[in-house]
Point group: C2
Chain length 355, copies 2
């Protein structure tokens, strides 16, 4: 494959010096872009878009045509693994993802199909290789998966939840059942990430979207230990290039310290903690990715630029920062505002390097 | 008024030694109790229940008849102040509170009626004095208010929100407008809490429900500074008794350190941080109230007892802990499970004191 022309993100995630702070945005291929909405309509439903390699490649490339972003991220869903396990993923407008069958007992877990990375998830691998080809080395491609805990919340609850009552009852009443499910998921996530890397993913990111709803003790037992297993199981080298592994837990807070000791390369950080504090908590062991409040993009361009500078300043000096929002970009944002953000990240970070 | 027979909560909040750890529960008078649902139906809508002193007293007393709780909390809503300012509070089933008019401009702020604590909020004061009389010194009565930031989120957005887009845009684009609103609210909250104390409230709690959606820098500027003003403005003494002031920000995380320096007596803590860590962050300056995950009450009695013991152990030795959930009790909980919790808090904390 073509050599990488812009490896700024890879370097930043490996805590190597860069000329400027690289930036990409969670959900950069998404509903805030009119061209995304058009392609999505063409595809029909959301999963049809994910399953069509050409269209998934198209929406992945769309934000790169508008903005000077330092990475592309695979367009896919975090729930592809449980879907491939035979649970019947579907989407109800305004209600988020749902499964036809829940997974709550040992019998349910035994009935899960172990997904084959080509037969069941080949559509993801096709999307990865199609996008890599289209990128032609312009920027790195980030592959991703949901974390075992996050996947389990949807599988046990059967749908999105705000209270997590069913899975929290399960981990308290039947912790061994929960661990059986999480173990199965951890193995699948490792196989899934390694297949993505084989297909061309150059960064591996694990979204532990719902880790932050647990107490720290429960987080360590039911989420972190499986993240650790995944970090250890991912192939970190491909074609002589190191593959950085990034973990992201929304609302990680104090858990950042434990997360930084898993051996991962970088941590995603949300906006409820200062990057300076996150740096202290993680003791220089990892790079940090984040962490502007996505709502900032609703403000005026001057306010956005000021907020970008505050975020860059809060990280401070030295390598190891990749700029991002603290969560996915919000659908109602004016796309031009993201352009303002990207340009200010590059301009201001170059200016401080030159000091 | 009658002397307090059980002052365990007051002592714990003032970091004085107690024979056992006192416990009360956020939303202990609420939908999980069938007798609450019956009284609520009798009253009609939610605000009619708040406005009727006899019925508000009845629902306040209901959990005390079932459980050995160490405090009562005024039955009311956090949005009584903006309602009294003339914004037209109403509730739509399943959608939370709404206002007929939003508050987004200087003109809107100037049009706000400054509520009179007797003419406009006398129904709250009637409820406080009615409950105090009915309690007859059995346990202390907690009065409360929403924080300026939390009240402002509803006033600016006009309703519940998950994204806080309108108010976050306001604080970035027009910070001085936001500060005008927050200043007006801080003054009203002080007057409101002092009127409650005059009427018989023995603890003052400020619910900063939405402080945790801000970055730490924004939290300090738009929430904490008004909490500080309120702590300084509350009458901390009544009839020779000290009135403890408790601040609660959901998702406070690292902000706990700043909060502990406001001069308040205690901080409410949610379950996303260990009490041992919260103690470190607050350096012994305040008592801590919390912090069991409300979902724990869906588990079996034995799992609930174990979780209670872990929470008590996580605080560790020494005075200054009042047991509570980390957020309000969930409507679907079996009331008997709360009895299990309350009894285990008392039993286990007595047993560790005796060691």
């Amino acid at each position: 494959m073509t050599a990488l022309k812009n490896d700024t993100l890879i370097k930043a995630l490996l805590r190597q010096p860069t000329d400027y702070t690289p930036v990409w945005i969670m959900r950069q291929a998404g509903r805030y872009l009119p061209e995304y909405r058009a392609t999505r309509e063409q595809a029909g439903d959301f999963m049809s878009l994910c399953r069509n390699a050409e269209l998934a490649c198209e929406v992945t490339m769309q934000p790169l045509r508008r903005f000077d972003l330092d990475a592309a991220i695979l367009f896919s869903d975090i729930l592809t693994i449980p879907d491939a396990m035979g649970l019947g993923l579907y989407f109800t407008p305004g209600e988020g993802p749902k499964f036809e069958r829940t997974t709550r007992t040992i019998a349910d877990i035994k009935a899960l199909k172990m997904p084959d990375m080509q037969d069941d998830l080949g559509y993801v691998m096709n999307a990865v290789s199609t996008i890599r080809k289209e990128l032609d080395g312009r920027v790195p491609l980030i592959g991703f998966s949901g974390s075992p805990w996050t996947l389990a919340t949807y599988m046990v609850e059967g749908q999105s939840t705000r209270s997590f009552e069913v899975i929290k009852t399960l981990i308290l009443n039947e912790p061994s059942t929960a661990h059986s499910l999480l173990s199965v998921l951890a193995e699948s996530v490792i196989a899934y990430m390694n297949a993505q890397i084989q297909s061309g993913a150059q960064v591996a990111m694990i979204f532990d979207t719902w880790g932050g709803v647990l107490s720290p003790a429960m987080y360590r037992e039911f989420s972190l230990r499986y993240l650790q297993q995944i970090v250890e199981g991912i192939d970190r080298q491909k074609d002589g290039q190191k593959i950085p592994v990034v973990l992201f837990t929304k609302g990680a807070g104090q858990n950042l310290t434990d997360m930084s000791q898993t051996g991962c390369d970088a941590l995603g950080v949300d906006w409820t903690i200062d990057l300076s504090q996150a740096r202290e908590l993680t003791g220089g062991r990892v790079a940090l990715q984040g962490n502007l409040d996505p709502s900032t993009l609703f403000a005026d361009p001057e306010a956005i630029r000021a907020a970008v500078r505050r975020t860059l300043d809060s990280y401070g000096e030295g390598p190891g920062h990749a700029f991002n929002l603290g969560h996915g970009i919000t659908p109602g944002v004016n796309p031009d505002h993201l352009g303002v953000l990207v340009d200010e990240v590059h301009r201001y970070s170059r200016s401080t390097r030159a000091d």
